[in-house]
Amino acid sequence: MVAHLIRLRFRLLANSLIRSPWQAVAVGLGTMYGLAMLFLAVVGLLFLSAAPEELGRTVTVLGGAVLVLGWTFLPLLSSGIDETVEPAKLATFPIPIRTLLLALAISGVLGVPGIITTLAALATSLVWWHTPAIAVVAVICAIIGALTCVVGSRMLAALTVRISSGRRAREAKTVLVLIPLLLLGPAILAVSTLFREFRSLLPIISDVVSWTPFGAIWAVPGDLATGRPGLAALHALVGIATLVASTAVWRWALDRALERPAVSTATGGARRGLGWFAVFSGTPTGAVAARSLTYWARDPRYAQSLISVPLVPAIVFFYTGASGDLSGLLFVGPIVAVLLGMSIYTDVSYDNTAFSLHLQTAVSGRADRWGRVIAVSVFAVPTTIILTVASVWISDSGDRLVGMLGISLGLLVTGLALSSLVSGRFAFSVPAPGENPFKARPGGGFTLMLSMFASWTALAVLALPEMVIALVGFATFNEPLGWVALAVALVLSSVFLVIGVRVGGTMLDNRGPELLVQLQRQK
């Protein structure tokens, strides 16, 4: 049965790759990237074997702890949880929970990230190859550590997504997950700043970490190498207890998820009236704008792209502001502008096959494009202006205000233009409506990132004029040049927006049916 379920996982992966060759390319590239990382890790660990044992211990403990933490929490942050074999879909089959648990754990290990993590963990034994007995212990600890990684990710997935029953509760929870994520970024950065400034503290930190569930198991070989078997036994105990406890929690969460599969049971309170539809004009463009804005407020997938907005000032502050020089905050406006400008990049993909209503009603591509741009502009333009003004004010560089506004608004509107162009042509692999917004399809995120990267490059080139003028103005303390930059930004980006919407709209008019076929394939 276990082997059967694992075969199912690979069968599903293979089939999805056959359906979309680009996804296969993406998975291939991801694998190569992982192998490169693995190679670097192995080389580094080999070098470490020549260093003092104390250093080897510090590095393996901290590295291992980061690995476990990353596995447990990172899926929520970026790449998503691989739900190729979704427990909820197996609920109808009479599979004993033990078997299911084992199968899910093994299929987690057997993914590309799982294999690379396991190999990297096993490579930690290379640090201790001088003493074969310790190296053997290190191999055992590495296996436990790698299993903890996989179980940790599965546990959090089961806890955050599957416990809930009812759409509203589920959505509330996914948004709640965002709050610790907001704090996580600055926290990591604060810690890494500490690392840079207090290198001598690292051994002490690793001592502390070695008592946490994340680092304990990785400390065992180092303890033995530095001649502390008692400590090694205690650390091993904490490490094994961690694995056992997280398995138990996962089992409990999975059990609940299977007993109460996430079905929509909520009958929410009724809403009166037309909402945004009564605010916008009664034209197709106005209707699309009202619909989009309603989705920005109601759909957790859009909330996911909005978390970046408060995240950016926090990260920039922690990166640059901690040293006392606040001028780095000037980056906040442009970065947020780029993120918001590109936020409608996957808009049609988020619509999924509901987009067929746009085709059925023969709404013009241009109205479709404008509506989406207007909806995001309603909050993106004020947000960009406010953040730019605030960052200029806080960093006390008032002479740069106009130029910064030029750069930010130029990037925002040019970004909207590019998004309008691209989202009218391509359907990306994104979570479907109602799905976990953090859910990833194998390689899907990578394809999206690849095309995003190309678009960012295009954006940088298109917004170059206003950026160059503004920067020259800053460098020569020439304030009127700031006004030139703002004027150039407004004119140029508006022209781009009109072109982007028209060309994107025409493509939508001409290729709407083909786009729908693409969307149906993503379903």
Binding site: G268, G282, T283, A287, Q360, T361, V363, G434
Partner: protein, 257 residues
């Protein structure tokens, strides 16, 4: 109608073909749906019903063949043709984070209608489909039958002349189903044309005056319901045409005693 000049049929499909990779999903289908008819399209799963209807309504580009609605070529006059067609697609999502009222309003506004007209018709449609009490509930929280009804309301709001409904009665309760049938009959009596695809042979036989049987992407029979079924029931005739009926009671191990 011998004294009237011959009107173009509501829907005329000639040589319609669609290939998905290796599979020929629709194989040069010819179909004529007369004006004012209640037309049933029946066929086994995967017969190409949905593909044919998608191509007929301008949602899926055909590889070959032509489709015209009231004499107007659909694929060269997409906007005008779509204004005359109301579509209920099977297996596509709705913008289900909108309330029922918002969704119907959205469909109307997208069609380019005046806001006041949309508001009036949306209220009428919600009343007609007994969705008044849930007009403020998000469509994602609707039951399957309610979702079908709200999608039907979206297909009707721009007052089309031709209604193309893919599986309109699936998961609709009997009372709502009867109400929908009454509405559709009223629509046909007033001169509109309705095409429904369905698995329910009894229903099609009672409801439709014309019927076409489609299997493996080909039309096996087409005409008035009485012509197609002859002396037997539509279901028997369908099984006879399509084949694949098994005789026997299943394997030995599946019998309890």
């Amino acid at each position: 109608m011998p004294e009237n000049p011959p009107l173009a049929p509501a829907l005329e499909i000639t040589g319609l073909t669609k290939r998905f990779g290796e599979k020929l999903a629709v194989d040069s289908v010819n179909l004529t749906v007369p004006r004012g008819s209640f037309f049933g399209l029946v066929g086994p799963n995967g017969a190409g019903k949905t593909t044919t209807l998608s191509m007929a309504t301008g949602l899926l580009r055909p590889d070959a063949g032509s489709v015209s609605v009231h004499g107007l070529d659909v694929w060269s006059n997409l906007v005008d043709a779509k204004r005359r067609i109301g579509v209920l697609s099977d297996g596509v999502r709705l913008f289900d984070r909108l309330t029922g009222l918002q969704l119907v309003t959205y469909a109307g506004l997208l069609s380019g209608m005046e806001r006041t007209v949309v508001a009036e018709r949306a209220a009428d449609l919600l009343d007609l489909f007994d969705l008044d009490s849930v007009s403020g509930t998000l469509v994602v929280d609707y039951s399957a039958g309610m979702t079908k009804k709200i999608a039907l309301a979206c297909a009707l709001i721009h007052a089309p002349q031709l209604l193309v409904l893919d599986e309109p009665f699936e998961s609709v309760d009997p009372v709502s189903g009867a109400n929908i049938r009454d509405i559709l009959h009223g629509f046909v009596e007033s001169g509109g044309t309705v095409i429904v695809s369905s698995h329910a042979m009894d229903l099609v036989q009672r409801m439709c005056d014309h019927v076409a049987v489609i299997a493996d992407g080909r039309v096996l029979a087409s005409g008035t319901t009485d012509e197609v079924r002859g002396s037997s029931t539509l279901e028997d005739r369908f099984v006879e045409l399509v084949g694949g009926r098994r005789h026997g009671k299943g394997p030995e191990w599946l019998r309890i005693s």
